[in-house]
């Protein structure tokens, strides 16, 4: 997976993202980073801290508050030959940019027969767990996986965040890079009432120095097992891992890492082995990415299944403020689904 991967040191996910941007700005003069508050200030989550001072104001710069404008100019920059990395401050604010993303960035290659491409990587924090209410908590990934021409990536560890982000930036197609904000500063197993954990000391927080990539479209087996397969991404990888550990279940957990293109081989292999499949995401359920996963598993592994495929998701409501933890697909929801799947025969 690596090119010139060095020794490595522990980082938070924010630091890993910052490092990936720093490396790409240094390596490739065509990379530019732009977004609201990302320049001098370094971003509301500090993901771009120090980058403007190091790489200059024409490589890393603040933008007007216009998501449509941000994506639109990134399309134009891509047409020139740059490799823009726009940040949308929260995924909840990406909607004004949808026309430029869906009608333009996603289709430039197709409609121009590859005369023009949109090699941009749109970074955006997503997901809840920070009492952000309905405009700082959403998980809109399925809106983008539904669009032909867009790639969708979701890291779950600092190590993967850096390698995937570099791969996304180097990719010639438009990539939506969803950063699970609840994981920025530490892993989160869904026990909101326990002290927050930090990345330090976590195996996957050791981030290699220098440039390395994790190919888009390759899942990661978090844990091997025989009893059932759990397909997850982002924050839910950690929630699922926590539940599996506490229940002592021999589950195989697959962190998808890239939703489109999907590592279908890894999924098929695992489900054929275990015969049971649980899909977990924080996003709302109806027409969520879980529906696609469930369809694929049913279509391709039907004769290996010993139980109906299960989905654990957020509820089909806007993300509530005070009832955040009643909404969140936490350990109880995940645990009961696992038990149902194992009990079925």
């Amino acid at each position: 997976m690596s090119t010139d991967e060095g020794a490595g040191r522990p980082m938070t996910m924010i630091e890993a993202i910052n490092d990936a941007l720093d490396i790409m700005l240094a390596r490739d003069p065509d990379v530019v980073v732009l977004g609201e508050d990302i320049g001098f200030f370094g971003g509301v989550f500090r993901a771009t801290a120090g980058l403007q001072a190091k790489h200059g104001k024409t490589r890393v710069f603040d933008t007007p508050i216009s998501e449509c404008g941000i994506i639109g100019v990134a399309v134009g920059m891509g047409a020139y030959g740059l490799r823009p990395v726009p940040e949308i401050q929260f995924a909840d604010y990406i909607y004004p940019g949808l026309d430029q993303l869906i009608s333009e960035a996603a289709r430039l290659r197709y409609r121009s027969a590859a005369e023009f491409i949109a090699p941009m990587t749109v970074r955006t924090p997503f997901g809840g767990g920070i009492f952000g209410g309905q405009t700082h908590s959403q998980s809109p990934e399925a809106l983008f996986t539904h669009v032909a021409g867009l790639k969708t990536v979701v890291p779950s560890t600092p190590h993967d965040a850096k390698g995937l982000l570099i791969a996304a930036i180097e990719d010639n197609d438009p990539v939506l890079f969803f950063e699970p904000k609840r994981l920025y500063n530490g892993p989160f197993d869904g026990y909101y009432d326990r002290p927050a954990k930090v990345w330090k000391g976590h195996a996957d927080a050791v981030v290699p120095d220098g440039h390395y990539t994790i190919p888009l479209g390759k899942a990661r087996t978090v844990r091997e097992g025989e009893a059932l397969t759990i397909l997850a991404y982002g924050t839910m990888v950690h929630v699922a891992s926590g539940v599996v550990e506490s229940l002592g279940v021999d589950a195989e957990i697959i962190d998808l890492r890239t939703l489109v293109p999907l590592d279908i081989e890894a999924i098929e292999q695992s489900v054929r082995k275990t015969g049971r499949c649980l899909i977990v995401h924080e996003a709302t359920r109806t027409s969520g990415f879980g529906a696609e996963l469930s369809a694929l598993v049913t279509e391709r592994c039907f004769y290996h299944l010993e139980a109906p495929v299960e989905r654990v998701t957020g509820f089909d409501t806007p993300y509530p403020h005070s009832l955040e933890w009643a909404y969140f697909p936490g350990p109880v929801r995940v645990g009961e689904a696992i038990e149902r799947l194992l009990a079925a025969d």
Partner: protein, 431 residues
């Protein structure tokens, strides 16, 4: 592959350079606002409310001011309010500030997740709302708590919302301060910037379609004028001559981005009106009398079927963006104290004192009284619960109002949520 970056030999063309705006002052820099042209109070002409839009264009780059450095009211924009009217205005602005101070502290004590002050900008919401009729519809941004307070919305309702508690009439669904108050004609606040602007235009169009007499008024931060919705709103308002008043609160900052990132290096925000051919005014936003006069002018104009007005309230965001922000990282500490247009509460108070209608003692007594009112509201709200302490709305409320009637899948999910609560909190530990 980047296209050829250097002009072909012999082209003899200049090398292009990207301009990236930079604020004048950063942390550690001495602050001097001498570059701002502040015209004397009273010097600006006041055209008739029914004038052609072009008559207002010079005012788009001027600054409408009433209260002078001598604490007296000057010129044609002086709204000639009664002393009682001005005392009410002062009291409402002071209430906003006292309320903000207390709420900020409650957030710091962990009683809620978020708060956001409007310190220094109180006039832009309070005085403007006072210039409207109670029936006019307000489409606020998130920094217009002053509109609610000016419409005598109960403080208790506001604090309940901020605590997301069991008495919160928005059922704990919204981030603190994203109020909704239909009973005082205050539209539900979105967290997504500038969306309220075309909505205000649409409300005003509806009022015109129905031959009503109500108008709409919308507020937006200067940074948010970059959103497409700002331009959508103005285009529609101009095309349909909609009875709507747009207020751009130019507090110079949008989180860490100075107004230059919304175009302020080129011209004023009021001057956007010129391109759309509608009336525009740039107003001293820290001068409560000027704010009142400008908003009343625009409201009358709209009511007389002379269409929309874009007002820029020139002011300064004295505090951080919100409780999640630390402005010392990106702007000079002395900007707030160096702001040449002073403080709206201090200026109006000084004016009332200068005309013999107020005193320092009365002001101090008023502040004590207001603080008492706020504390009473807080105590009452705390009895209904604070964020994260069990006294929240029942879980079923999470599934209500998604649709008018609950479809089967939400009913199933609601049952799941109730089941999960029973597992997490068995009867013996139910809060």
């Amino acid at each position: 592959m980047t296209m050829e970056a250097v002009p072909p030999a012999g082209a003899n063309r200049p090398v292009l350079a990207l301009h990236v705006p930079e604020p004048r002052f950063r942390p550690g820099d001495p602050v001097d606002f001498g570059f701002l042209t502040i015209p004397p109070a009273g010097a600006q002409p006041r055209p008739d409310e029914t004038c052609a839009p072009a008559e207002t264009f010079p005012l788009c780059t001027d600054l409408v001011r009433v209260l002078g450095d001598d604490d007296q009211a000057h010129g044609p924009w002086d709204p000639r309010l009664s002393a009682d009217g001005m005392r009410t205005m002062l009291r409402l602005m002071a209430m906003v500030r006292v309320f903000d101070g207390r709420m900020y502290r409650l957030q710091r004590q962990g009683k809620t997740s978020f708060y956001l002050k409007c310190t220094g900008e109180e006039a832009t919401s309070v005085a403007a709302t006072m210039a409207l009729d109670a029936g006019d519809m307000i489409f606020p941004s998130y920094r217009q708590q002053g509109c609610l307070i000016a419409r005598d919305y109960p403080l208790l309702e506001m604090v309940n919302q901020i605590f997301s508690n069991r008495a919160d009439k928005l059922k704990g669904r919204q981030l603190p301060i994203l109020y909704s108050a239909r009973e005082v004609n205050f539209f539900t606040i979105s967290g997504n910037l500038a969306t309220q602007l075309p909505q205000a235009t649409g409300f005003a169009m509806a009022s015109a379609i129905k031959g009503d007499s109500r108008i709409a008024s919308a507020w937006v931060g200067e940074g948010s004028t970059a959103e497409g919705d700002f331009h959508n709103a103005l285009t529609f308002a101009a095309v349909y001559n909609a009875p709507v008043v747009f207020a751009v609160v130019n507090n110079q900052w949008a989180i860490s981005s100075f107004s230059g990132f919304a175009g302020a290096e080129r011209t004023s925000f009021a001057a956007r009106a010129i391109g759309y051919g509608i009336a525009g005014l740039k107003v001293d936003g820290n001068d409560a009398l000027a704010v009142y006069a400008a908003h009343a002018w625009a409201a009358d104009r709209a009511r007389l079927n002379h269409g929309p007005t874009l007002i820029e309230y020139f002011t300064y965001r004295v505090e951080g963006h919100s409780t999640s922000d630390d402005p010392s990282v990106y702007r000079a500490a002395d900007e707030g104290t160096g702001w040449p247009l002073g403080d709206p509460i201090a200026r109006l108070s000084a004016h009332l004192i200068a005309i013999g209608e107020w005193s320092a003692e009365a002001h101090a007594a008023m502040l004590t009284e207001l603080d008492g009112e706020v504390r009473t509201a807080i105590r009452a709200a705390e009895a209904n619960g604070i964020l994260g302490h069990g006294l929240h709305q029942p879980d079923t409320t999470m599934f209500e109002d998604v649709y008018e009637t609950m479809p089967w899948h939400l009913r199933e999910q609601m049952a799941q949520a109730l089941h999960e609560r029973a597992v997490k909190y068995p009867p013996e530990v139910q809060p």
